[in-house]
Amino acid sequence: MTRKSILKRLGRVAWIFLDNFDADMIVGYENITETNADKLAKICMSNFDPKFSESVKPGDMIVAGKNFGYGHPHTQALIALQKIGINCIVAETFFPPFFRNSISFGIMSVECDDITKNVNRWDKLEVDAESAEIRNLNTGKTLKAKPLPKVVLEIISKGGLVAYLRDKYGQVKMI
């Protein structure tokens, strides 16, 4: 995959979260120490929609209101979402530690002011991180997103922080 194609994603909106949503609720507070990705995938969003995991297709995305990820930045929700194929989040704003986590995981995380007013569940979106544009293919409407810093685009295009660091700094003996 080219950098350009990694930074442009096409998928359906699998869920729309309200403002200040604590991402721990994606797996349920009782599971925030679980590390098994398969288990987390199975319970992902099951408190909201028992059929969520099966109805999601790889490439689908989630949309959220303001301050998405408010709460302690545990990584269980990201592990679960990624395992079922969700690799893109469009939120009006992110809770800053959650945003850093999400980018570290290689999940394309983009801020767009009015996103929740302009999508319905299962709409198809094209999210272009490089041009900072989001197109709703169901309505034909194009929205402007907040441009991501170059370094963030680079981390996403490498697939996450560890891959980015490995590429740039790995296997070098530093003294």
Binding site: D19, D22, Y70, G71, P97, S104, K150, V151, V162, R166
Partner: protein, 417 residues
């Protein structure tokens, strides 16, 4: 254009004059961590095994704490702590344990000073803003700081809080941050810095500023910073900390917002379950039955917290069946509490006292059963934070916790002072 305190700090650590909105690389003065399975051990293993880095360029800047799982309760815990210590020794990383909660220890030990820039994976590193330092939570991205010595960030805008007046008796710094969350909401600060200044500052002790820093994140702040004043200087002098620069925001700074708070008008505010933005006046929930109380954490457990608890509980008894856990946040605070006879008073009243540790905040050293409830100076109240997901947690000042311990019902501390 003038600069804010944080813009000045970020200018120093990025090597150029910066203003809000710019994307920069900054070099933290300190990279702080604590022992946590799935984070600290994962960082170590990625660095060694995946990146094959022999020695981190940041080694001198890393401060590692063992302040969680302080008294290991299983062989698995003990092994984890052993590996944490071994990694630190083998890699020349400074490790501090048995001294208390890291966010407070670095302040008391002068490891962080006014004007410095610290990063941590933990959400509550803005605690260091109490003494005019900038603490930035990075979550998993701290790995990048460890490896490269740099962090990227958008220089944050600043929201100014002008404080006037003096806190009434029985009302504390914790009530101030709860009131701000109540007034402005979970996203009220919009990822800005909360900067505190004004004539009221001189009445606000560092022990009142610490919970504001620790909890600012729940108001949607990126971090918080208090202007350094005589109160800061006296506090640091008491701990033998000197040799620091004092930064103030320029007079022509453009703040995103300015809010004025009159401390003398404040009343006790609590955070109701189940989320940390459910701030309400204590009066709305007074009388609710509570089973357990906790005074401690990076948002409490200071000398002032223990003093006020002792004042409220002196000559009185904690209600039978109510469990009050009092955990001084550092060894220094613990010692001072002993020397002042405060712990005698608390033990006499029926409190359970423990050596410093983070473990009481998240259900490890104390736990709630289904259907129980707690009033706590801890950092978070989501379901399951202190045991059962079917237990409820009210976050409150140490004064409210102590007053509640007497009747087992959420109580206004002002009646006992």
């Amino acid at each position: 254009m003038g600069q804010t305190i944080v813009e000045k700090i970020l200018s120093r650590v990025s090597g150029k004059k910066v203003n809000a909105g710019e994307i920069i690389y900054a070099r933290p003065d300190l990279i702080v961590m604590y022992n946590w399975p799935g984070i600290s051990d994962k960082f170590f293993s990625i660095i060694k095994e995946e990146l094959k880095i022999e020695k981190l360029v940041t080694t001198e800047k890393i401060i590692m704490f063992i302040d969680h799982m302080v008294s290991p309760s299983s062989v698995k815990d003990a092994e984890f702590l052993k590996n944490t210590r071994r990694y630190a020794i083998e890699n020349g990383i400074k490790l501090i344990e048995m001294q208390g909660i890291g966010h407070h220890v670095i302040i008391e030990a002068g490891i962080i000073k006014p004007g410095m820039f610290a990063v941590h994976f933990d959400t509550h590193i803005p605690t260091v803003g109490a003494i005019g330092a900038f603490g930035l939570p990075l979550a998993f991205d701290e790995l990048g700081a460890l490896v490269t010595g740099e962090v990227w960030l958008e220089v944050p805008h600043t929201t100014c809080f002008q404080l006037n007046g003096r806190l009434p008796k029985g009302v504390m710094g914790r009530d101030l941050i709860h009131k701000i969350i109540h007034d402005l909401g979970a996203h009220g600060i919009k990822n800005n810095i909360m900067e505190f200044s004004g004539p009221g500052l001189k009445y606000l002790e560092i022990d009142d500023r610490i919970p504001v820093g620790s909890q600012c994140t729940w108001a949607g702040a990126l971090s918080a910073v208090f202007e350094v004043d005589h109160v800061t200087e006296a506090f640091l002098k008491d701990y033998g900390v000197g040799d620091y620069s004092i930064l103030k925001s320029d007079s022509d700074v453009e703040y995103k917002e300015v809010y004025v708070y009159d401390l003398s008008k404040l009343e006790p505010y609590v955070i109701a379950p189940p989320l940390p933005y459910k701030a309400i006046p204590l009066s709305e929930v007074e009388g609710i039955e509570i089973n357990q109380g906790y005074i401690g954490s990076c948002a409490g457990g200071r000398l002032k917290d223990i003093e006020i608890a002792a004042r409220i509980l002196k000559g009185r008894k904690i209600k039978e069946g109510f469990r009050l856990f009092v955990v001084p946040s550092t060894k220094n605070v613990f010692k001072k509490s002993i020397q002042k006879g405060l712990l005698d008073v608390l033990v006499e009243a029926g409190a359970y006292i423990s050596s410093p540790s983070c473990d009481f905040c998240y259900g490890r050293a104390q736990c709630l059963a289904e259907g129980e409830s707690a009033v706590s100076t801890g950092t978070l109240n989501v379901p399951g934070r202190m045991g059962s997901t079917k237990a409820e947690i009210y976050l409150a000042s140490s004064a409210v916790v102590a007053a509640t311990a007497l009747s087992g019902k959420l109580s206004d501390p002002r009646k006992f002072l």
